[in-house]
């Protein structure tokens, strides 16, 4: 009668003893959980966010806990305040921002590139235009030796192969940007398909994630897909050139993405809602995207808001080299400066800004230097 109780008590004691011990060692080794920054959202931002966080922790001891749950999820999470910031590939509409008291600002950029799988066609050999890409994705251009493709690629031997269209199966910021670009350059696409983070695709089949799309393209002769530049660079699939707004045929590169950003008019974009699609500029890549950070303007806990902004300021100042190495594109220094100024809108319960960027002038110099 007494025995089971004693056993249970013993087990309970051991359990608490163990967890106590676990807690102390964790606390002893790492920074206390209170100072951590929590964020959620864009899967595109996740690899860079993790690398930044690693370096940031080494220098400051503050940890970043980022959940890569997708852009839509990130915005949902910040709206219900379960995280300090959300990260999204598709900008939140200004009306929505005002309604929910949110501020969004760009943190880093990236490019989306078409990839193809054709015999003897290597990266940089295939030329495409936006309207042609739209026709291919609508299933109107069915074979690789179609006159429309041949006209753009006079030097290429194009086989009489059916075009297999590969798209993203999951809802994604990549699809959002890609379809918005097609809608911008092709009125038929805009009318018949439209633009969103998931579509009713007129043709083709869907792979899960960037990896799924590049796997399908790699495995299917005569296929075409679209992925983030970093993924294309990593998987080694053949990347196609695109004709840009100014009519130049250009290859995707960090410089081409940066050129697209250079022409962007951030100052006149309400709520910083700006899509870098089909931007003017001789060297500008037409499908460029931005990762936005979304935060509440009214911070209930000023300390966590300050911690997050301190991290982003650090990333603006020190993160460019790392971003470039991982095939992301740093923001131009003047855009960063503009965003730093907007941070004063993020205030604590007392109405005062939670964070003041320390030394703006040298920061510009530093980021300009590292952007070289």
């Amino acid at each position: 009668m007494f025995k089971p109780f004693a056993l249970a008590l013993g087990a309970l004691l051991m359990l608490t003893a163990c967890s106590d011990k676990g807690a102390t060692t964790a606390e002893g080794k790492d920074a206390p959980a209170a100072g951590d920054i929590t964020g959620a959202g864009s899967t595109f931002f996740a690899p860079l966010g993790a690398k930044w966080a690693e370096t940031y922790k080494d220098t400051t001891g503050v940890r970043l806990n980022y959940q890569s749950i997708g852009s839509g999820g990130g915005v949902r999470q910040i709206k219900v305040k379960t995280v300090d910031f959300g990260a999204t590939d598709k900008p939140v509409k200004p009306a929505d921002l005002d309604e929910t008291g949110l501020l969004q600002f760009p943190i880093v950029m990236g490019g989306i590139v078409p990839i193809v799988n054709l015999p003897d066609v290597k990266s940089g050999q295939m030329n495409l235009t936006g309207p042609l890409l739209a026709d291919i994705y609508m299933g109107k251009v069915k074979r690789w030796d179609d006159p429309a493709i041949r006209a753009l690629n006079p030097g290429l031997k194009l086989p009489h192969l059916p075009i297999t269209v590969i798209h993203r199966a999951d809802g994604s910021g990549t699809t959002f940007l890609f379809s918005n670009y097609l809608a911008k350059v092709s009125p038929t696409w805009k009318a018949e398909v439209g633009a969103a983070d998931a579509l009713e695709w007129p043709a083709g089949l869907g792979g899960k994630g960037n990896e799924g799309v590049s796997a399908f393209v790699k495995q299917t002769l005569g296929s075409i897909g679209y992925v983030e530049f970093a993924v294309a660079a990593r998987t080694g699939t053949a990347v196609a050139n695109m004709r840009n707004h100014d009519g130049h045929m250009i290859a995707p590169s960090i410089e081409a993405f940066a050129a697209a950003a250079a022409g962007a008019d951030w100052a006149n974009a309400p709520g910083n809602q700006l899509l870098l699609l089909d931007q003017p500029g001789a060297q500008a890549w037409p499908i460029t995207g931005t990762v936005f950070i979304v935060m509440h303007k009214k911070q209930d806990k000023p300390a966590s808001g300050r911690a997050a902004l301190t991290f982003f300021d650090w990333a603006y100042t020190n993160g460019d080299a790392l971003a470039t190495r991982m095939h992301y594109v740093p923001l131009p220094p003047e855009v960063k400066q503009m965003m730093r100024a907007q941070w004063s809108q993020i205030t604590g319960p007392d109405g005062k800004p939670v964070y003041a960027p320390a030394t703006p002038a040298p920061a510009v110099a530093a980021s300009a230097a590292s952007a070289q």
Binding site: G171, A196, E200
Partner: protein, 309 residues
């Protein structure tokens, strides 16, 4: 009550009974809560599209019009196909293990089958995408595509993009996933048959084939139907492996080698980014899947409980 406590003076007993009761009710409450949550979450879609949600195959996040017919059909086709592939093999495996196999080999083989059942589904998905699908495309789809007249019946049935991502390959991977589970339960069913039945059949002069086909299988038939339904239930809800190789298009599949989607794969794909009616429609898909699975499992339970094994 007083009588009972007089017989069991141990105070642990009522506590334990309470604990067991609480555990059981918690489970029931969770189930009920799940249904209610799915109903509430999916309500905006159900009220907007009504019965048409089940019959329309439009799935358009741009115009916010959603219908579940494509995924429902994809779910049922893949589940039925995988069952058709897995069932005969599972029966053969379990018959071999219980009737023909030497005892020394039977045990390790059984353990290996049970281990197969424990492989995470994402592993099957990866294997399907990177190994099986390309192999299937090269050795099965391409020869078929080049040799068949595309206008003939077979040409139409087996038409599709030759990259191995289609309903058929998804069904095969599903079959491989439910196979170990089904063979393990079949084996237990065969073992539960009293040895006298088998001995009597042999005593009457039956061949091994006749013993298995005319005596043993009929003996456990009801139990087998129950197992089949359970396997079917598993195939219905399987998510990750299918998502990787089914090709993920919401259209009605028009051939065996066409890409499609299932209820579970659609939810897995789009849930992260969805909001508003899109999100409600995905939750409603969950409700549909829940109802289908529930029906199947209820039938299985009814059949299983009519026969003890």
């Amino acid at each position: 009550m007083s009588l009972q406590s007089a017989r069991h003076p141990d105070p642990v007993d009522p506590i334990f009974r309470g604990l067991a009761f609480a555990a059981a009710t918690t489970l029931l409450l969770t189930l009920g809560g799940l249904i209610v949550a799915l109903m509430i979450g999916g309500w905006p879609a159900i009220s907007k599209f009504g019965f048409g949600f089940l019959t329309s195959s439009t799935w358009n996040p741009v115009t916010e019009v959603y219908g579940a017919a494509g995924p429902i059909v994809g779910t049922l086709i893949t589940a039925v196909l995988s069952l058709a592939i897995a069932l005969p093999i599972a029966v053969c495996v379990s018959v071999f293990l219980t009737q023909y196999c030497p005892k020394a080999i039977a045990q390790p083989v059984s353990t290996a089958i049970e281990l197969l059942a424990g492989i995470p589904s994402i592993v099957y998905g990866m294997w399907g995408l990177f190994v099986f699908a390309p192999w299937f495309a090269r050795t099965v789809q391409l020869p078929i595509l080049t040799s068949l007249d595309p206008e003939s019946f077979w040409g139409k049935l087996l038409a599709g993009v030759p990259n191995g991502a289609n309903i058929f390959t998804a069904s095969i991977v599903l079959a491989i996933m439910i196979l170990p589970y089904m063979s393990a339960v079949f084996r237990e069913l065969f073992r539960s048959i009293p040895p006298q039945v088998r001995e009597a059949a042999f005593g009457l002069g039956c061949t091994s084939y006749e013993v298995v086909g005319s005596v043993l299988i009929p003996y456990v038939k009801k139990g087998m139907i129950g197992v089949v339904m359970l396997g079917f239930g598993r195939a219905l809800g399987e998510t990750m492996a299918v998502t990787f190789i089914i090709g993920n298009s919401h259209r009605f599949p028009d051939s065996l080698f066409a890409s499609g989607s299932t209820l579970a794969s659609t939810i897995a794909n789009e849930f992260n980014e969805a909001s508003g009616v899109h999100l409600a429609s995905l939750i409603a898909l969950g409700l549909v899947l829940f109802l289908i699975t529930f029906t199947v499992l209820a039938i299985a339970r009814a059949l299983l409980s009519s026969q003890r094994y």
